[in-house]
């Protein structure tokens, strides 16, 4: 099984919670999907559990968006493969707080 190194960029509030600066690099085994990237992220930074995906349903929180390669991937299935450029680390997987006022 191959291991990919995926770059993840968090929004400012979550970077602060996780005590990280800049991007996070995560090792993901097998096919790189949104679910596996988020699983790896939460395993590395347990404080992020519940902040991106709902604890009970595991679904993306309503005002969180996933972008990569200039595409909005928020509505893609969690187990769909992410773009190849994300899997190779050429492009980051962006976790974004939606523009919703406040």
């Amino acid at each position: 099984m191959s291991t990919a190194v995926v770059r993840v960029k968090l929004p400012a509030h979550l970077r602060k919670l996780a005590h990280v600066d800049g991007e996070v690099e995560l090792a993901v085994d097998g096919q790189v999907t949104q679910r596996l990237v988020l699983d790896a992220l939460e395993a590395r930074y347990p404080v992020l559990r519940g902040t991106i995906r709902d604890h009970a349903t595991d679904r993306r929180r309503a005002f969180v968006r996933f972008f990569a390669c200039e595409e909005d991937l928020s509505h893609e299935a969690p187990d769909a493969p992410l773009p190849g450029a994300v899997a190779t680390g050429a492009e980051p997987f962006l976790i974004v707080g939606a523009m919703a006022g406040g």
């Binding site: 509030h13 919670l17 559990r49 519940g50 902040t51 991106i52 009970a56 969180v64 707080g97």
Partner: protein, 371 residues
């Protein structure tokens, strides 16, 4: 050294205000958790350095923070508020059935005796308890198992459990309030609950003897007299002398009996404070005058407290958890406003001064008396 620590939750972070026993000069630290809604920050009565804070955001959900050093530093603890497997629904705004969905923690009530035990009142209305310092949370599901829960429905602010009163005589007795369901009491540490709303009358509820459906805004109790409870309801200021078995009106002489917070003097169980607000549709003080009203007779007779408070062009609100008292010899009274002011009185309300004027909108104020 004797002093006070005021814990302030705001729409955009938490602040800790500290002073010595004179309460004249204040040190203001914060914001902690800048940008997050801090619905409540509360200290353990058993260990004043142990604090809990409810941190939430519409984007990133709920976190609980814990401090071991009086708010100088914080660390996140558990944030999984999973409802127990209780079937059923509550009413949605339009009257249709709606499943329970966790939104946020409105109120944290640390145990009176154990720093690691803390209760959380949440939206959608439920009560959770942690016995490991907030690392894990278990719902006391007997509350939602009450047969009336399918008829509970949200108030304008959501269907929240916002008030938790612990009985200092009996750890098995708790009284909680839910908007807009009303008051519920347990005598067996949360296994079973019953509504405690007899005597409440609410405009808009067709049944004058409705068991639930009342929009209770806040409860207060003096620890020396746990059977006496004071209530600020949507409209009406009420009192119970029998541990919430029945309620009677004590606010009939107030300029308006709509409001949110209510509190009791630390040393005088019959001295009660409220902040009258114009109406349910106009959430500002009457006539632009910010006045705390004090009763020294356990209700019915009220006096306006105005010295040091703005008496013209003031249009802020004081939310339900945004008033508290200290227990120094001369009781201090504190409240925060939606305009970001935190006012303090070091003489039981006779005179007031702002500790700070320009915080974000204040959601909660708690006070710790440090000895």
């Amino acid at each position: 050294m004797t002093g006070v620590r005021v814990l302030v939750g705001t729409r955009k972070g938490a602040f800790v205000l500290t002073s010595d026993g004179k309460r004249e000069r204040w040190d203001i630290s914060g914001p902690q958790f800048a940008g997050w809604e801090m619905y409540h920050v509360a200290g353990s009565p058993a260990d004043p350095d142990r604090l809990y804070a409810s941190q939430s955001s519409g984007w990133f959900g709920q976190l609980i923070q814990r401090s071991e050093d009086g708010g100088a530093s914080w660390a996140p603890v558990g944030n999984d508020f999973g409802y127990a497997d209780v079937p059923g629904t509550h009413q949605w705004y339009d009257g249709t059935p709606h499943p329970w969905e966790f939104a946020r923690v409105w109120h944290l009530e640390p145990s009176l005796t154990d720093p690691d035990t803390v209760y959380a009142g949440v939206e959608d209305a439920a009560l959770f308890r942690s016995v490991d310092g907030g690392q894990s949370w278990q719902e006391l599901s007997g509350l939602r198992e009450h047969g009336s829960s399918s008829a509970w429905q949200p108030g304008a602010g959501g269907m929240c459990l916002h008030t938790i009163v612990l009985d200092p005589r009996d750890p098995a007795r708790m009284t909680v309030a839910i908007s807009a369901a009303g008051v519920f009491r347990t005598d067996d540490a949360g296994k079973t609950w019953r509504p405690a709303n007899r005597g409440l009358h609410s405009e808009g509820i067709p049944d004058p003897d409705a068991e639930v459906g009342h929009c209770v805004h806040n409860l207060a109790m003096h620890p020396s007299r746990p059977d006496v409870l004071f209530m600020q309801k949507h409209w009406d200021v009420m009192r119970s002398d029998d541990a919430a078995e029945s309620w009677h009106d004590i606010g009939e002489t107030l300029p308006t009996d709509f409001g949110f917070p209510i509190d009791v003097h630390a040393h005088e169980p019959d001295t009660v404070y409220v902040v009258p607000i114009t109406s349910d549709s106009v959430h500002v003080p009457p006539d632009g005058k910010l006045r705390v009203y004090r009763s020294r007779t356990g209700g019915h007779e009220w006096e306006p407290l105005t010295a040091g408070l703005p008496q013209s062009n003031c249009y802020v609100n004081v939310l339900r958890d945004a008033m508290a008292v200290d227990s120094l010899d001369e009781c201090g009274v504190y409240f925060g406003t939606t305009g970001g002011q935190v006012y303090a009185s070091a003489d039981a309300g006779d005179s007031w001064a702002p500790i700070v004027r320009d915080l974000p909108a204040v959601l909660s104020v708690e006070v710790q008396t440090l000895r």
